[in-house]
Symmetry: D3
Subunit: 265 residues, 6 copies
């Protein structure tokens, strides 16, 4: 891998990968709409609005792979999500088509399936049940990835990221936590793989509680190594007892699913 | 049904329903960005850009049901589809949430699943396989419909319209044709139903060749009555022999799937 | 068929079959805990408490087939259902095992699966979701039927009766109605069949709205002929507009599912 | 269709199609190892051992479609089946590959799935459960058809023929009967279709009792018109009451499944 | 957890949990129809007939969770099972509804699915195939648990216990064994869980041979730690070679399925 | 196990088992059409053409189990495969039926399912998709195994061997490799099992990349211990970068699937 593009490089996950992927490619091309500081050795830094196609085309051109983290990463105003996530993700795939047919990691989210109930373990075929406009934008990105593979032969992996933080911060994350190390190994696994098609992978560590089944993606050879279990005592001490009827407990999407739920009216 | 809104009323399907639904509701409120002529008895005519939320909110307010046909209805430029289909469909659902929780018919399309192969009969659980940006926008609309039901209790039916024309125009339409009369009866069935949830229905007449299975939606009680078969001789005389390897024959989406397909490079 | 036993013969369905099966068997042996009037030609009348095994054994002995309608046929006190439905159904199967291994029609009910949602069409593999103690007793009867087949080779058909009345009485019955004629033809079909195993059949007429799929039981050759549709205008005129959020509309079991539902607290 | 090859043309089904397909193609090329009489107008008659590849290659060359009925059509000695069915079917597909990539109808049989139980309705995905060496040879032919499609692009339809006779001859055939007219219409449907892939179709008429589900093949537009029901009285009068435990009743394959069954030892 | 009720506390499993759950709750309330000895510190001892509703209501009142082991735990006379298992389990759930909506562990059994064949690995959706009246009572209990959740919001976990003994006692138990420690950790896991719905879990240790798949219940975070493998040599030395045709080997339920099987007549 | 037959004993796998199974049975009866050297202690050596039934019958007679490795083990001329694999495998099963109903290990191959795509993880129910005539012969052997079990009660395990070599030799084998030790433990597991039915097992070691799911066969208690991962660096250094569009990468069958593929014309 000579040149790997990371979008959203100024964000939390982007900053993590900027460190953890150092050396994985000869050059990391880093992009964000926000300031990323100066380029270090083995880096290129390109400030770029994902809503500007010409800029995105230039950004993508000359790279060998794309880690697309850019866009709005939580629930927000529709127009902001429309620009960054809908328009931006299209721009990434279209630019890849026009330049080098690079393989793309699309940072999807568990919020694409956030309205399934906790007792239902989800695999490859779980229907989309977005829990937010943000979640809808992630469904869209996955569908775009599949479309660009079916029609244009652009390979991708959509990672339905659970909760990617330094450590689990609440009880739900005891199941959904994805450690930085496990996310990094997943990025490497998908670019190392001989073929990915338009795969989808759930992004969770090897936690004791498991909500998602990645059996279908075993061909990628990714085996997360971390577990949220070591943080259980700390988390339980710091957070209240859950109520099983609370939509934030009932649904995979947690507070995203609960926010504004009509049955609470 | 007192007041039924039809968006896209200046379009082909909108014009059909303007006639065929006359009398089904006390008032048909007709909307389009294009000119629709003068309102006739039992009609209200409101010119409206679906990309303007305030206008859409006013449009939706006071209605008892929405037939949402508006938007770009074929493959086109991304920005045009982004405005009319992505932004516009969100505006419709959001306006419904804010005003009357009206039941919505979302005019989806077979192009949401257009990259499945002809030999695969598709039912409720067929994964999304959009064959075009237009098709991606239809997947999006269905996911938005599900989201607005799960979170806000807005009922809907997404109709994956096959080929809705006065008569089948090519060999593919011998399987995919939806007559105007059958579309009309489907519209009535979904508004008459006691409950729809966020259902999906394939919109095809009772043709001899069948690609889609509506068994899951039998609770709606819709039974198409027309068949493309009477047009077979005419169609076959007017169109060339198909080639089974042609992507337009291989895939459900026909020419939408074939356009630009990379394996033809 | 020489001698066919009908339990619950004083009840509504029993009285219907008493007439409609006249001549189907040489002798109809009729049983109930209530008075059934005098035996007519081709009939034997035996008053019997299904909770008394010796009586049931005598009742079953010498017959060639059993239509087991007896027991409590609506929600009721647990102890009444325990005696008539739990104890009584066991007695019927056990008596069949001890005497003639007669094929049994078990009158099950849609209330065995009454907590599924209307938008979900149910087939053979729908999990049990009883909506009442009565519904639980019907699940039990089906499981008992399967057990007696697996272990002892007693054949049966469990009929999940929808709404078997002279005509549909409310809007739900436009989907769930089973006409007397169709029920009668089903009884004949199952006794005429070369083999039934421990089959399950949904008991609904050929209504326009369909909630249940009998495809798995097509080997029985039963084709209902009646439809609730002719009663639609009358029913709709006599009953209020449904509310899609009402549990009685949401769930297959209708008012059985709605009664006492905790989310209404 | 200019020239259509029918193998096994001297057999019962071959003789039927020789008549019923008259005029469907400009020329019917008829082949058998047995005598077929003289060629009539629109016919070519070629005596051929399917075990002789050069002969088969010559037979296939110049045709536009193949109806492959040839081979042993009942249980028999392994070596006879090995030559006619295993070697012969390979020869047909390989000759098609070498000459014209003609579409092939492979006359498969219900005996490929004959060890499934009657209560199990079978569709596209029923696992192979051959009931005889003959049945194994039919599984083989279907797998060969799929292989020649996947690797070489030879289209085919494998028809799992039920019981194709002038009329049903026993009680089992009330479910499995395929009328000559329905078989003929199926042959036409598959050659008229724009694309078949390597489809499989169950060959049964529109009988009242149905064991097999052809929903997956609805894209072919084949709708059988005949029914065994008109022969029921005659068949039941002429045949004994079935015993549900008899393997010939229990299994789809009837007497093929029952012959030699070890549990009867 | 302040007060945890254990029914059947004088039985084998009850005695085990009385020890192993010491300290898990502030108070263990122990109940049985048999003598349980004197209460020790942290215990309450209440003799109670599960067939007496008022007694059960008093028993359940004031507790925070229920481990319902009580009832007949092997095949037995119908009337005994009817009282203890059918009536008793209803009493437990109904008392929970009336008092505190306590979460319930229902001690189900592999005998609820005992007539499946060994080669079929069973998961969440395996149809009920009871192998005994005892097994039927366990199906009933699971259905009751689901009913009380759907209608009244009583959470539960039904544990289909394999063979819970100090060590495996025969060859079948090399697959079905559940160690006391693993059962204890499962009890804790289900009461610690934020939500259980009406889950079902197979109760087997981490044995080398596995018949059941608990993937669907991974959200509970239960990971058995013991294995029957260490007892293999001892078990094999003490028990005869199995016969693959023996119903006790063929079916999941072992000797329960074999007892009285009609094909052995 | 007193006497275990190994066919194909002069081949690569046969030679491995000749060593690794030493002592597992009192006597290893070794057979091949080629020279196997002299019998050693605990061995019987019988040269035999699998195409000669009388010879095979003699070979099988007196044994207690059969490891059937014999036949053509790569793509080859149809007639050679017809004799050795089709005729030979029939002879093995038929001889088992006539002599001792010995349990049979049938050496099947991943090439029976070689035309599935890499992104599809395959389990028990994956449809046959042979990638070669050799692969067709393996489908046939599995179907024959099922037939001999259904009709005659001959137990078997069909092992879909991945790549059984001393070490992985190319990048595909990093997923498909089966170590000799793991193959040996599988042979022992299947003969030690109380019952196998007509099971199918995928033969791959515990590699990091996994294409196949053996969950259905967990009842056999086989747990492979080796992994190809230790050979990754060596393999990657010695082999070129894969091209994801290469049929040898796209399909499970690797170069077998790619050879002669029509889309490469």
């Amino acid at each position: 891998m000579r040149r790997l593009l990371i979008t959203g490089a100024a964000g939390a996950l982007g900053s993590v990968l900027r460190e953890s992927l150092k050396g994985y490619a000869d050059v990391l091309r880093l992009s964000d709409i926000a300031d990323m500081g100066a380029a270090r050795e083995g880096e290129e830094v390109v400030q770029c609005d994902l809503g500007d196609f010409d800029a995105v085309r230039g950004l993508v051109d000359g790279t060998d792979g794309i880690v697309h983290l850019g866009g709005v990463s939580r629930e927000g105003a529709f127009e902001a999500i429309l620009n960054a996530n809908f328009r931006g993700t299209y721009h990434i795939f279209e630019a890849a088509r026009q330049t080098g047919k690079q393989r793309v990691l699309f940072a999807s989210s568990n919020h694409a399936i956030g309205f399934h109930e906790r007792e239902d373990r989800l695999g490859k075929d779980a229907p989309y049940r977005a829990d937010s406009i943000y979640g809808v934008s992630k469904c869209y990105g996955e569908i775009m990835a599949r479309y660009y593979f079916d029609k244009f032969g652009i390979e991708s992996v959509s990672v339905r990221i659970g909760s990617c933080f330094p450590e689990p911060r609440d009880r739900r994350m005891l199941a959904t936590w994805l450690s930085y190390a496990d996310f990094t190994s997943l990025v490497k696994a998908m670019f190392d793989a001989a073929r990915t098609g338009a795969a989808m992978v759930y992004g969770a560590s090897d936690n004791k509680e498991q909500w998602w089944d990645n059996g279908h993606a075993a061909f990628l050879g990714w085996h997360p190594q971390d577990s949220a279990e070591g943080f259980r005592a700390k988390v339980e001490a710091a957070t209240p007892e859950p109520d099983w009827q609370d939509p934030a407990v009932r649904y995979h999407g947690g507070s995203f699913a609960a926010a504004g739920h009509f049955e609470d009216d």
